[in-house]
């Protein structure tokens, strides 16, 4: 499958002299000591897949463990690209008319995402140039970096240097040209962003809550940028390892209901649909590819997680060391939870696009009644609210302030770890929120109240609320 991806210029050929070459290789096989191939004494240093080239483990250029070391470089790369390509095609992530914004943090995952998207686009361009009728357009690609120097302790000259590096990475990619956007995180505000953002984050006492709020703001700024610049998809480099951590930390934060929304290939609850084509790639593999392929990364900018997220990250790392397939298992378990109706690319009216893009939709096990959109989302983290969470409004008295209503429309997790507890600080916090959050909350609270009036009787009659 991997080599069918069209990009693998490797030794994965299967022509007639394959066996001859293999024999030859076997004869000239030097017995290098290697830790990862104990169970295959005959093919000591040969790639598990093509059985021609030396494995990564035996070539000695890098130290590797696990299955990765048993492939040669070409097959390893082909396999990784194959996973990316399969995710893109089987979920209709990118269609020819799309304009894709790649979120690039400078880390290895998003660096690989950028590289792979670029290669796909490059190939599409070649096909376009070669085709006679030129009916299929080539999708556009842009790159966005969220500049968090406003809230980071990292000196701004390091940010500037990293931005220069990224600029040169993007401009050095072969044509078609890609726009590079530096998106200041404070751009979620229309004016005076830096100060307000700082104050907002200072109002959050919980370390984990602060980190998560920043994460939501990051998404908001990317969405805003994508929208303003006419992009139709936002592509993130979230890999299996990252998603595994999210599964555990969402569980720990009590977000079990909304969890499946966050971990699918497609998340179209946003204005600009978000896609995760590296969902099946491990961080370890992506790091390796960056090293082997000479893809430059800027690790300085990625500060380590703290609080709950930090604990979860080290827990998952520990488990992964104990069993190299643990991260996959975690993501697979969470993948069995029922996704939401927005976890697929919305049907497009443009029939042209339909014909053009090969669309192999995976079947969702959505039950009919669950394909009805949930009525409300948390205005901060945008997670869908479960039924028992969005009747909280009813508990508010008539003298409710806007801040109270806002607080009541948030999910329990955000209420606990982000919102200030005292009414005065809550008012202050509310006044500092970016406009988008507030508008969303207002829209939602209206529709919720209307819906409440219709449904509250049923809720009160049923005695099934959990006793929290």
């Amino acid at each position: 499958m991997a080599c069918g991806a069209g990009n693998c210029q490797s030794g994965c050929f299967r022509d007639d002299d394959d066996s001859v070459v293999t024999e030859k290789k076997k004869l000239t096989n030097r017995t290098l000591s290697s830790g990862s191939d104990i169970d295959l004494p005959n093919h000591h240093n040969l790639c598990l897949k093509c059985k021609v080239n030396e494995t990564l483990a035996s070539s000695g250029t890098v130290s590797v463990d696990g299955d990765i070391g048993r492939f040669c470089f070409d097959c390893f790369r082909g396999n990784l690209f194959g996973k990316f390509k399969l995710a893109v095609t089987s979920n209709a992530m990118i269609s020819p008319t799309d304009n894709v914004l790649v979120a690039f943090s400078g880390g290895p995952s998003s660096r690989v995402a950028l590289q792979f998207v670029h290669e796909m686009q490059h190939k599409a361009q070649k096909n376009f140039d070669a085709s006679r009728d030129r009916s299929l357009p080539v999708f556009g690609v842009g790159v966005a970096f969220v500049d968090e120097s406003a809230v980071s302790r990292i000196p701004s000259d390091e940010f500037d240097k990293a931005i220069q590096d990224m600029k040169s990475i993007v401009s050095n990619l072969a044509p078609p040209d890609k726009a590079f956007h530096v998106v200041p995180i404070e751009s979620v505000y229309s004016s005076n962003g830096r100060d307000r953002l700082e104050e907002l984050l200072n109002a959050v006492k919980d370390v984990t809550g602060k980190e998560d709020l920043l994460q939501h703001l990051r998404m908001l700024s990317l969405q805003k940028n994508a929208y303003e610049n006419g992009y139709t998809k936002l592509l993130l480099g979230s890999c299996t390892s990252r998603i595994a951590c999210h599964v555990i930390s969402a569980t720990v934060k009590g977000q079990g209901y909304s969890l499946p929304a966050d971990i699918q290939y497609v998340d179209a609850r946003w204005e600009i649909p978000v896609v995760l084509p590296l969902r099946d790639c491990l961080a370890q593999e992506l790091n390796m590819l960056c090293r082997l392929d000479g893809l430059k990364t800027m690790e300085v900018l990625n500060s380590p997680h703290s609080g709950i997220n930090g604990l979860v990250a080290s827990f998952v790392t520990l488990l992964q060391e104990e069993n190299p397939s643990r991260e996959c298992t975690i993501v697979r378990t969470a993948g069995k939870l029922t996704p939401f109706h927005f976890n697929q690319i919305p049907e497009s009216d443009d029939s042209n696009v339909h014909l053009a893009s090969r669309r192999r939709q995976k079947k969702f096990n959505l039950k009919p009644n669950e394909s009805v959109p949930p009525e409300s989302y948390c205005p901060i983290c945008n997670s869908p609210l479960s039924k028992s969470d969005h009747i909280n409004l009813s508990s508010l008295g008539s003298d409710q302030t806007n801040a109270d209503i806002f607080g009541a429309t948030c999910c329990p997790s955000c209420q606990f770890q982000i919102l200030p507890k005292e009414p005065v600080s809550m008012e202050h916090f509310y006044s500092l929120l970016p406009q988008q959050f507030v508008v969303q909350a207002k829209d939602r609270s209206f529709s919720m109240q209307r819906q409440l009036r219709e449904q509250i009787q049923d809720f009160l009659l049923s005695d099934s609320e959990d006793g929290t």
Partner: protein
């Protein structure tokens, strides 16, 4: 481990944040509120009462067995349930039910505790032993099969032993001492090993309602640390000697069974303790997540039948315990370990000529109706 919390703060007396009258004596693990001893008993018991009432765990007039191991959880459960039963007129007949696996130096000691509970709380005690039910003690089983897979035997046998004991007592329900930490741990473990079916079940407060005897977990939302503190602060006033003895034993039982080295179970436990340290609410949040996971219930359930040999519920011809037992008695302890179906089918053809009579005698079947 709970002792640190019980010690009063050195930095001057702090008022109890609930009654504002007495001096705070402990920091409540669940909420980190500083409260006095009296308020602690009150909230501890009241919360369990709410769980019992809100989830309709019991109906008036029911006979309830409390699975009693002699460890901290079940001892406190027996005490609290008998107390609440009296105070709130649940109208329950309570019994203690213990399983004697036959592990020398482990179970025989803890059974002594249970026997003392019988007298102290005035609850009738029933002990069912593996030896009586199956003709084998765990010691004998380990001697025969070694340390590998012995947990399979112990687990399968205990499950059935509890049900059989409950049937002998003619109870309607079995209450077990699983606490919030246990349930949070189970949620995580089921995620880690990809067991979606168990993940969907493990947070239910009542399980096995379709089986012979439903089980419930009144301590579902009760923190382990509070269970440790509760008897400590309560019994200290009543019976110092007892508390001391209790704690000595508690330390012993809180250690993991040495026969079940399971790396990630240890990691998960440690992880939950770390989480609790920085965010006590995390334990409840994990349970809440477990309750709210969107799991489609269309997954096929095995057809429920009865074991042809002993009458216990079984999806196969024979129940798991009978298969394992057959293996033991025939000197083929691998039987029933791993893939069940094939073995179960292959087994029946030569049971008749084997020492079937002895097996049936060693397991008192047919005398109980499930």
């Amino acid at each position: 481990m709970g002792e640190a919390e019980v010690k009063p703060k050195k930095a001057g007396p702090v008022q109890c944040s609930i009654c504002s009258q007495r001096r705070a004596a402990l920091k409540r693990p669940k909420t980190l509120e500083q409260i006095c001893r009296e308020c602690f008993y009150a909230v501890f018991e009241e919360e369990i009462h709410r769980v019992v009432v809100d989830n309709q765990l019991f109906k008036p007039g029911e006979r309830i067995a409390i699975g009693a191991s002699g460890g901290k959880d079940s001892t406190v459960l027996a005490y609290v349930l008998s107390e609440l039963n009296r105070r709130h007129n649940y109208g329950l007949d309570l019994f203690l039910l213990s399983v004697d696996e036959g592990i020398t130096g482990y179970r025989d000691d803890s059974l002594e505790t249970v026997k003392r509970n019988e007298i102290q709380y005035g609850l009738p005690l029933k002990v069912v032993s593996y030896k009586d039910l199956y003709g084998w003690t765990m010691d004998e089983i380990v001697k025969m099969i070694g340390l590998k897979n012995n947990c399979t035997f112990c687990g399968v046998f205990r499950r059935q032993a509890l049900d059989r004991g409950a049937a002998m007592l003619k109870v309607d329900k079995l209450a077990t001492g699983h606490n919030a930490d246990d349930i949070a741990e189970t949620v995580l473990l089921n995620i880690l090993r990809g067991d979606i079916a168990r993940l969907s079940r493990c947070t239910s407060i009542i399980t096995g309602e379709d089986g012979p005897i439903p089980r419930c977990k009144p301590f579902k939302y009760t923190y382990e640390k509070e269970i440790v503190i509760y008897p400590y602060s309560f019994l200290q006033n009543l019976n110092r000697i007892y508390t001391y003895a209790y704690f000595k034993r508690l330390d012993y039982f809180s250690t993991e069974c040495i026969y079940s080295p399971n790396a990630y179970r240890g990691f998960a436990r440690e992880f939950i303790k770390d989480l609790e340290r920085i965010r006590p609410r995390a334990i409840l949040d994990i349970i809440r997540s477990g309750e709210k996971f969107r799991i489609s219930t269309s997954a096929k359930m095995p057809e429920q039948g009865t074991c042809e040999r002993c009458g216990y519920i079984s999806s196969q011809k024979w129940c798991k315990a009978c298969v394992l037992l057959e293996g033991l008695n025939r000197g083929l302890p691998k039987l029933g370990i791993g893939r069940t179906r094939g073995l179960n089918n292959g087994l029946e053809c030569d049971t008749k000529q084997s020492n079937g009579v002895k097996n049936i005698q060693s397991k008192q079947c047919g005398t109980l109706d499930f």
